[in-house]
Symmetry: C2
Subunit: 482 residues, 2 copies
């Protein structure tokens, strides 16, 4: 989902009344970012509080490539990472994930092995349908075992009809009510993925948006958020529950009208331009966060790790670099902390934001070969020297923008100006310090093997044998196109 | 000012709390348009309720060129046009214009000759400073006579400092209070122009925005709107006063960061893409317009003519085509009327919108010669076959977009699709009917003459002789670059 997909962030059709109301009752974060322009690394960073380069959710088998967790990925979230639910468990929280995990689908990487108590959802994206011969359909799990497979047991029709979001909503509401009745603290990671291609929405929402199927999907998500918030209110626990809404990457502009909107920001998913990583983010906590707040805190999904740990009263690990900062004061008193924001693509630090300034050390959209095949990460946008189709190294003289004045990254500040010189003088030591202290984790996304696909997920042998036979191992470096 | 310049329309710095509140207390119009991508014709259309092609605010001395009212323009608003204040006068309204007139600066064209009772402001843009030898500085009028000149008596400093907006605010407030004390109905046309290049703001606002000088200006306008609304409330006449906020054209994207934002829309001022004509529009009328309304009515500044006439209880002229429609029901009951919207550039009908569909009959940004000199109406944007540098005739097979799905006009609907064929089949007769019934007014913007400039405005001989000697007449066709 993109920054520009909510009414409150300027989507012209204004079809998100519940999210807009959530913002009106809480705090809007226009300067909030994912930790990566891509789903898997972004989610791994959210849950570990650490950049993908540290937690291993990257590849170094090609430079600056966007790697994720397709079905044949060998790696996943390392045990050594201390995930947010593992932290919260120490404070007595029950942790549930509903929806897409994306931190590795092999049995050792599942959510219940990494701090979650409950899971309803899938390890991978809902791509498909597949033939179950060369590629298996993705399993949907109920806790540690598969409950069925997408397209077979959990339908997603060709026209986009699916009741999955409603199922995920029901899972959330049931969990909330159950936790409430037990008076037990909880962490719900509600990771729905209906805005991810192939888009889906349930029948009552199909055809109801002014924006087509993508808009139908957003309308359904908006509806579900409204239901979750009203349930918290009606249970009387709203004052005791922090709800944070965001997305794992910018709108997939390469999908054209079906990819969503990044508003005035440049390009989208897969890129380290603002459209790739600036996220529509809202915090809601009645009685603690005042209504109608706007925070220009430069925030990151990784901050949720640190913030939620602090609110739960658990210490964050001190034996490793945590990239998230605590937003507790921001939420409660609307103060801002200056902090550098690092934009990575794979193993490459592409850009850094400090205050209103963003310095690009490298620029890249995608290769001219891929572009010529019709894959365009920046449709309709072309900024000479900025939206480059070569991986372009600017590290000796970064491309500098004031993204408050120039959110579209259209007007580089000239390198001859005093402003440029002063800003770069401030930014360069921050970059140097970051890189010199950086200890990259072991890359988890280098190797692929068809044998590791979801052929025989745990529990496949029950309720009629749904296990499929894996092909022989064929371990090789994954190919990352961009 | 652009659609994307207000927080409520997605400006990321969220610096317009008063306008955002005005929207929260009233009705937001995300689908509202100026009548032209340029100031003078747009304002002539607002006040006459008629397209510029009818009221004469166009040129036919070159095809599809943007003409306006520079100092050497010979023409102006024809007497035969029945302007909104002329209508309202019949219902006992006192009419005041504060700010930029732009409907002709020669004495016969002044506001007090066309229905206004009071004027404080200038006939032209605040360009300058000039030398008063080859070009006179623009006069500022108090009613029928000049009160001084820009840069001489009404300062605009090189750094953008000027208290003009505060003067215009004070004029507005004094007028409101005076009308209130007389219990006399009024029409205030508060036509401030601080967002027009050269930008200006008063000292308390300079340097206060995250967006630079342009943002300072917007912040000051936002502040002044807040003052006007709170004055109406404190006088107890808010329930009796409809306030409408809009702009005369899209953000001037050719001025880069200093030109404002059109949010997700394509290009800007001077063009008939959405960025050129979609305007940030809000209606406010406590007790009549319910709070938190959003109307997707396709609206036009020309509708204010018809709407205000209806609310004032005066009939609109029946001896001529009026292009505005009444929005009274829209305001009071949030209903929508389907209506075609015509996008003109000079004498050329460029595009038509009906419902979500926009058909381009012609496309043009500016000439490649001008573009190569650095004038870019669509910076960072380039859509092959759409943002053309040749005047491109698509009238036999219009370029068609669904602008609800695709606000950036990036993805033309393919002409081979059933959707295209059906939509074009509906649109073509509307275009045909419009053109066959069209009686263009006599073009007012064809001729220029240095002798008609503001050398000796009415009243220049008083308070020390401020009259300048006009050069000999040199009547010639105006040159319109784009
Ligand atoms: Ca662990
Ligand atoms: Ca008249």
């Amino acid at each position: 989902m993109g920054w520009g997909d909510l009414g409150v962030f300027g989507e012209p059709n204004k079809e998100t009344p519940n999210l807009d109301q959530m913002a009106a009752d809480g705090m809007l974060f226009p300067d909030f970012y994912s930790a990566n322009p891509l789903c898997s690394p972004s989610r791994a960073a959210l849950l570990s509080g650490r950049l993908p380069i540290r937690n291993g959710f990257y590849s170094d088998n090609a430079h600056a490539r966007n790697a994720y967790t397709p079905q044949d990925i060998v790696g996943g979230i390392p045990d050594e990472e201390i995930l947010l639910p593992e932290l919260l468990k120490k404070a007595g929280y029950i942790n549930k994930i509903v929806g897409k995990w994306h931190l590795g689908h092999r049995a050792q990487y599942h959510p219940l092995k990494h701090g979650f108590d409950e899971w309803f959802g899938a390890p991978n994206c809902h791509f498909g349908p597949y033939d179950d011969k060369t590629t298996p359909n993705i399993p949907v799990y109920r806790n540690a075992e598969m409950a069925g497979r997408y397209y077979e047991d959990f339908k997603i029709e060709k026209n986009g009809e699916s009741n999955l979001t409603q199922m995920y909503l029901q899972e959330a509401l049931t969990f909330l009510q159950s936790q409430h009745s037990k008076d037990q603290p909880f962490f719900l990671y509600w990771a729905v993925d209906a805005t991810h291609d192939p888009l889906y929405a349930s029948k009552p929402f199909l055809g109801t948006s002014r924006r087509g199927l993508y808009g139908d999907v957003v309308r359904e998500l908006d509806y579900t958020i409204g239901k979750i918030l009203s349930t918290l209110i009606s249970m009387g626990v709203a004052n005791n529950t922090l709800v944070f809404f965001s997305s794992d990457n910018g709108a997939a502009t390469y999908s054209k009208e079906a990819g969503g909107s990044n508003g005035p920001f440049l390009c989208g998913k897969e890129t380290t331009f603002e459209g790739g990583m600036r996220e529509p983010s809202i915090a809601w906590w009645p009685g603690h966060i005042k209504p109608r707040q706007v925070s220009h805190q430069v925030g990151s999904l990784m901050d949720l790790y640190t913030t939620l740990a602090e609110l739960a009263g658990v210490d964050i690990p001190t034996d490793r670099q945590i990239d998230g900062i605590s937003l507790v004061n921001t939420l409660l008193t609307n103060t801002e902390k200056e902090r550098p924001l690092f934009y990575y693509r794979g193993n490459q630090l592409m850009a850094v934001r400090i205050g209103p300034y963003k310095a690009h050390l490298w620029t890249w959209t995608n290769s001219i070969e891929e572009f010529n095949k019709g894959v365009n990460f920046c449709p309709g946008e072309e900024i000479p020297g900025v939206t480059t189709h070569n991986q372009t190294d600017h590290s000796s003289q970064p491309l500098l923008f004031n993204i408050n004045k120039d959110p579209g990254e259209k007007y580089p500040i000239r390198s001859t100006t005093a402003e440029y010189k002063q800003v770069i003088q401030n930014i360069m030591p921050v970059i140097k310090e970051h890189l010199s202290n950086l200890k990259p984790g072991k890359p988890q996304l280098n190797f692929c093997d068809p044998a590791v696909m979801n052929w025989a997920p745990p529990g496949c042998d029950k309720n009629g044998n749904r296990c499929l036979k894996a092909p022989p191992s064929n371990l090789k470096k994954c190919v990352w196109d961009h």
